[in-house]
Structures are given as structure tokens and as C-alpha cells.
């Protein structure tokens, strides 16, 4: 709207963008032609016009500087958080590669990974089937009816990040800590039932969030699958 107005009032073919480019290319325009200041609003009230204009410039620049500083801090924060996440994921993967048996591997997934990933709950959730015994690798593993797991079995979707809600809270019933956010990772292990999930829970409601990237968790998922298959000789 504003832009249109400006363009409408203009008699020649020059547009606002042209003015910007010209001033960028000729930074001394105003310095060398101070009479231009008279054309700049606020309209001249007094001899103080230049001071007003400078004040305006200073405020605009201060705002811009503050914005850029904030953007910078956010970027640095993001870089640091990514680095920490990467470090955690890489540590668990290095530990995984050092396991020498299915037992050691399951032990790492079900118990040690909780601390390594700085979480309040981790577990394997497996679809309840007739041949359940085959998958009872550890007493901690929970078996659940397919009906409940169905919302998490979607083609091409393997990572579900969210705050805890009615949709996923059944994964975390009876956990020692109240789980407020989670990552549900569907493992692609058997190409047939039982469906299986590696679930991560945090009592921090912001630990996992739909908006987060899933590249690292995807990497973890694929490493877990490979190592599971190695030890299960699949």
C-alpha cells in the first residue's frame, strides 16, 4: 500500500527501488548535496531539521543493530544446541558400535542411552503378537496392541516429535517422571509384524518439539536398525 502510494505520486518512471540502488551505489549523495536534506521528511520545521534527521537515522540504525545482534545470538545458540545434540547422538552411536552382543546392545538402548541422551525415559515398545516371546529381549520392553500404535504407523513417517498429549501418553504411563515431551521413533526392523518403536521421553516440555529438525534422530534410527539387524542376524 505504502509503496504503491509512493509510486503513484511519482511523475517520472523512477521507483523506490531505484532510489535505494542509487544511494547504495553513491553513498556520498547526501553528503555532497546537503540540500537534499530539505526534501527529506520530517518537513523542515526549523534550523533543527538536520538534528531531527540525524536523530531519526540514529534511532533507525540503533534498532537495526539491536535486531542484527539478536539474530546473531539466536544463530549462535542454534549452532551450540545443534553441536550438543550431535555430540549426544554421536556418543550413543560410538557406544553402540562397541557392543559385542545383542545383550550389550539392548542394555545400551534400554538403560545407558537415557543418560547419554540426557532424557528421563527411554524404552522399546513392540506390537503385541502371538510370537511375542521371540522379542522379549529384556523385561523393560513393553508390548502394546496394534490399535494404539496405528497412529504412528504411517508410510514414510518414522519420527514423531511432540509434547505429550492423549495421542501418545500411553507410551509413558507408569514412568518414574512425568513425561511432557517425546520422540517416538518407529524402527524398520522386520518388514512385517511386530511393529517396533524406540521411544524417548523428557520431563522438559520443550525438549522435543514438532518444529525441530529430525536429521539427527533419523541418523540414530538408521544406526539402531543396522545394529539390531547385525545382532539379530536379520
Amino acid at each position: 500500500m505504502k509503496k504503491n502510494q509512493t509510486q503513484k505520486n511519482n511523475n517520472s518512471k523512477i521507483k523506490l527501488e531505484d532510489i535505494k540502488v542509487f544511494l547504495e551505489n553513491n553513498p556520498k549523495t547526501f553528503k555532497e548535496n546537503p540540500e537534499l536534506f530539505e526534501l527529506v521528511s520530517p518537513p523542515s520545521r526549523s534550523k533543527n531539521n538536520l538534528i531531527d534527521i540525524q536523530q531519526h537515522m540514529i534511532e533507525s540504525l540503533q534498532k537495526k543493530t539491536a535486531d542484527l545482534r539478536e539474530k546473531n545470538s539466536k544463530l549462535i545458540l542454534l549452532v551450540n544446541e545443534n553441536e550438543k545434540s550431535q555430540e549426544k547422538i554421536n556418543t550413543i552411536i560410538l557406544n553402540m558400535l562397541k557392543t559385542k552382543s545383542l545383550e550389550e546392545f539392548i542394555n545400551l538402548l534400554l538403560y545407558k542411552s537415557q543418560k547419554l541422551l540426557d532424557l528421563d525415559y527411554v524404552n522399546l515398545i513392540i506390537e503385541e503378537t502371538d510370537n511375542k516371546k521371540q522379542f522379549q529381549f529384556d523385561k523393560k520392553i513393553i508390548f502394546t496392541e496394534l490399535k494404539r500404535l496405528k497412529p504412528f504407523i504411517l508410510e514414510k513417517e518414522f519420527i514423531f516429535l511432540s509434547k505429550t498429549s492423549r495421542k501418545n501418553e500411553f507410551f509413558f504411563l507408569g514412568t518414574p517422571e512425568k513425561i511432557l515431551s517425546s520422540a517416538i521413533i518407529r524402527l524398520n526392523l522386520f518388514n512385517k509384524p511386530p511393529a517396533s518403536f524406540f521411544v524417548l521421553g523428557s520431563k522438559n516440555s520443550d525438549h522435543f518439539d514438532e518444529g525441530q529438525g529430525t536429521e539427527l534422530l533419523n541418523f540414530l534410527k538408521e544406526c539402531i536398525e543396522s545394529y539390531f539387524k547385525l545382532w539379530l542376524k536379520l
Copy 2:
């Protein structure tokens, strides 16, 4: 494209007089587009002290803004580069985890990894010992006398990044491409001779640089060691 076009128009058409006319016809231009103030350099010869001070502030703020913009761009570039490196390393590790034998693993390290890591040369360099045959996993592997490798056998130092120099060029003699920068990764495999190295070379002299972080290459190193040990049953 757009910008170039505008600049072209600017060079051919717009003159200082046009700016004056535009501003006269559109007195609210600066008010409605305060970012234009950043492009304005104030007149310098004022005797008024306040104006001088303000001018100083403006120049200082303009410099600060430009600095912050540059810092921001650099940060974003860094984030993107890190993401790409991480992706490459994670891809090679996922491929490693899918190998089903020592042969497949060696094949990945010596051949496929070159493309996956976007490099011009990769190889395993092993210290020449009497039991050399034991380590001749593939004809590409090069055996080298300990004397030459000694500068790269330092306690607690495992990753050597640098431009190619007399110190490390022997790793890359007879390579199809002239190698201008490299990462020499000492593998901790046998706890005794032969010393062994995974070497990465690029014809781009900036691909590897002493100033770079080595976290990702360290992660790759440890994954390779674990998988080597798995397949060698060490």
C-alpha cells in the same frame, strides 16, 4: 538478475536530479521507508557540536551494522557447511553399518567413500612390517616404512589436517589428481605395529585446513576403528 537490471537502469537513466524530483514529489519517502536513512551519509562540515556528535554516532552505527551483517552471513555459511559435512560423514557411517563382511567394509573405505565424502583420493596406508601379508586386504592399500610415518605418530594426536607439503606429500604420490589438501587419520587398531592410516585427499587446497574442527573426523575415525575391529574380530 533483478538487481543487475535495476543497476543497469540506474547507470543509464537515474541522475541526481531525478532523485530530487522524486523526493519532492514524494515527501514521505523517508518517513515511510526509514531503512533509507541507513544509506544516507550526513554532511560533514557543520560547526554545530551536536551535529558532529550525531554524525560520529551515525558513522559508528553504520559500521557496526555492516560488521554485524557480515558476521551473520559468515555464521550462516558456517552452519550450512557444517550441515553438509555432517551429512557426508553420517552417510558414510550408515553405509559402513550396512556392510556384511570385511571385504564389503574395505571396499567402502577404499573406493566408495571417495565419492561419498566428495574427495579426490582416499586410501589406507599401513606401516611396512614382516607380517605385511596379513594386512593386504586390497591391492590399493599402500605399505610405507615407519620412518616416513613417524611425524604422524604422536601421542593423543590422531587427525592431521593441512595443505599438501613436503611433510605429507608422500601419501599422495602417483594419485590421479594432484592432491593439494589432506586429512591424515591415524587409526588406533592394533595397539601394536603396524601403524595404520586412513588418508583423505582433495585437489581443492581449501578442503582441509589446520583451522578446521576435527570433531566429525574423530567420530568417523572411531566408527571406522570399531567396525574394523568387528570384522577383524579384534
